[in-house]
Symmetry: C2
Subunit: 366 residues, 2 copies
């Protein structure tokens, strides 16, 4: 197939550091090429890809000190891909709502992966274009707008082999927290759990130096004693693997409707069971009792820490290999493309993607 | 004609307080209706108009405390007008760049009034849609992009009869400054001129409490002595007319490429000659030596204050009545619509608009 991939323009594809969406676009693009598809990537001009690159802006918008009107580049991207539409069998939009007005007018089908959350504002636009084929990154993501035209849920993936796995956790043992310092990531809950259960907690987190997150950090900071509660700051991939693979468990006290918790699958890939509040996509990503534990509050999280040794670390790794590999994600998107093209009855050579929520299928495969 | 007017969504049409563009859209819309056109106004839902109103958002975005994604409403507006396009003879876009991608696909011609300035970002989009018919609000506005497809310059208008005129300035005399407290409005130059020439200066200006403008205000504030240099803060229409009509001259030390200086025509309408730095649209709005004086720096501005009594205040008012009335603006837009529709040869019953830069025409009409 001839496929257009339209990436967000905030980061390079793949991103130098952050940029969850840009990383997913990169993994998908390179895998589609490996599978023999012809792919054109519309992205920041410094992107690195085996696809044909259509650079929309010379540097990622995040690095552009002279940037005045970000929407200009979104509109440049959507119009550029629209102008070339007839060259493609399918256009895959990861950029967001700016593509919707032209999507309806495109003779080439366009599928839109939802990388964000629905809110009062963008829902009005999705409702106006309710015929557009959407792909959710978890089933829970759909909840505020179950009436829209979803063609699939395709979970995000990680490059599993690049994550170090450890059979046994580090000794002396510790719990891990990885994420932004932000109320909705629930760092205060993780600290409370560690203190009350007497465990060491190693925190690797980015601190945003503005706004609400910065105020939150002022409240959190006094709890960091450098002994029981240690703060490692922002860390790279290698240190991240070391932290997660050595952890007895990773705490994810997610306080919001997170559409896809990447940290959860990264932790499990490294062999760390995950203890998460049962919000957003967490129940779809963790197999409760097998790869981690879903809890409702801090008290239950403390109880879960006591039980965590019952989780098999090999099972955690295997769960990610089976359900969140790049191959699995690409299978899901290939099938979604077929469905959007009205060819959903064609049997693909590769095993078809099954939403993880239908857990019977997964259990049967064990 | 059936005309669609697409207004910005930041303020009501007409605006409660600020909103230069929304005010122009209101004056134009009501005048077009008076002339027998059928007009649909796409604007904030609380707008007040004799046109058919298509409310895009219930309240203006500026008043919407829950606003998360302003671009959503721009896209809702542009797609709503596009969907109804065949009902109109012409669509008049005041909203900006969000209309460009759909404009090329519209069977109904769309003209775009440029209410802002060109910058590195938006120029890329205008270049991509370089066939689109643009209307500038001054000739100087075109300078960074003279190659685009301009169908007319149509100057902004004010409702001249609603501005009080005074034949003689207030005694004791003073100079006036009206505008935002902002480096590009040049308040520091006005204060320097007043101090060095020994004149009183009355300043009516809004102070933005954030960013660069707030820093600038900290530098300016010590100069306000409440006697020679007086600060009136933000004032309403009635106080504005009182300030301007009583001023011996209004100082406009504009430091940037302002596409249309509304204060200049408001001052002249009230009978106040204007002394302005010769930047942006100022040379098109002031008739040098007749309705004000154009200068190059503070020293020349001091010299101009000495000469200001030679300017006839009646001539100032007449200049605005002749060139910046709502009727004149509506004439200009009617002609621009005809041109965009390819009917530019049709002789209109009303006198045709002439760009002010061709000053021979105006001089001949005196």
């Amino acid at each position: 197939m001839h496929i257009a991939q339209l990436a967000p323009l905030w980061e390079r594809v793949p991103p130098v550091k952050y940029g969850g969406t840009e990383l997913v676009v990169s993994l998908l693009t390179e895998e589609l090429i490996r599978r023999g598809h012809q792919v054109t990537l519309f992205a920041s001009g410094d992107s690195i890809t085996a696809a044909k690159l259509e650079g929309i802006c010379p540097v990622p918008m995040r690095d552009d000190r002279q940037l005045l009107e970000p929407i200009v580049y979104d509109l440049l991207a959507t119009t550029t891909v629209y102008q070339q539409a007839e060259e493609f069998d399918i256009i895959h939009n990861h950029l967001g709502i700016a593509m919707l007005p032209l999507a309806r007018l495109s003779a080439t089908p366009i599928v839109h992966t939802l990388h964000g959350v629905f809110n009062r504002d963008n829902l009005q636009l999705f409702n106006k274009f309710s015929e557009q084929p959407l792909i959710s990154i978890s089933n829970s993501q759909r909840e505020p707008a179950p009436h829209l035209n979803y063609v699939a849920t395709v979970y995000n993936a990680i490059d599993v082999p690049s994550y170090d796995f450890r059979q046994e956790p580090e000794d002396p043992p510790y719990l891990a927290f990885l994420g932004r310092v932000s109320p909705e990531k629930g760092l205060h809950i993780a600290i409370d759990v560690a203190r009350r259960s007497g465990w060491r907690l190693l925190i690797a987190a980015k601190v945003e130096r503005t706004g609400r997150d910065w105020e939150y950090w002022q409240v959190i900071k006094p709890s960091i004693d450098g002994k029981q509660i240690q703060f490692l700051g922002e860390i790279g991939k290698q240190e991240k693997c070391k932290l997660l693979s050595g952890a007895t468990a990773t705490l994810c006290p997610i306080n919001w409707r997170e559409p896809f918790g990447l940290v959860l699958i990264e932790a499990m890939a490294c062999g760390s069971p995950v203890i998460s509040l049962s919000n957003g996509s967490a129940p779809e990503l963790i197999k409760h009792g097998e790869t981690g534990l879903l809890v409702e509050d801090a008290d239950e999280m403390i109880e879960a820490v006591r039980q965590i040794k019952s989780i098999d670390r090999n099972r955690c790794r295997k769960h990610v290999e089976e359900n969140f590999s790049v191959a699995r994600m690409a299978d899901g998107y290939e099938q979604a493309y077929q469905k959007a093209l009205g060819k959903e009855d064609i049997i693909l050579a590769k095993p078809q993607f099954q939403p993880l929520a239908k857990s019977a299928t997964i259990a049967a495969a064990d």
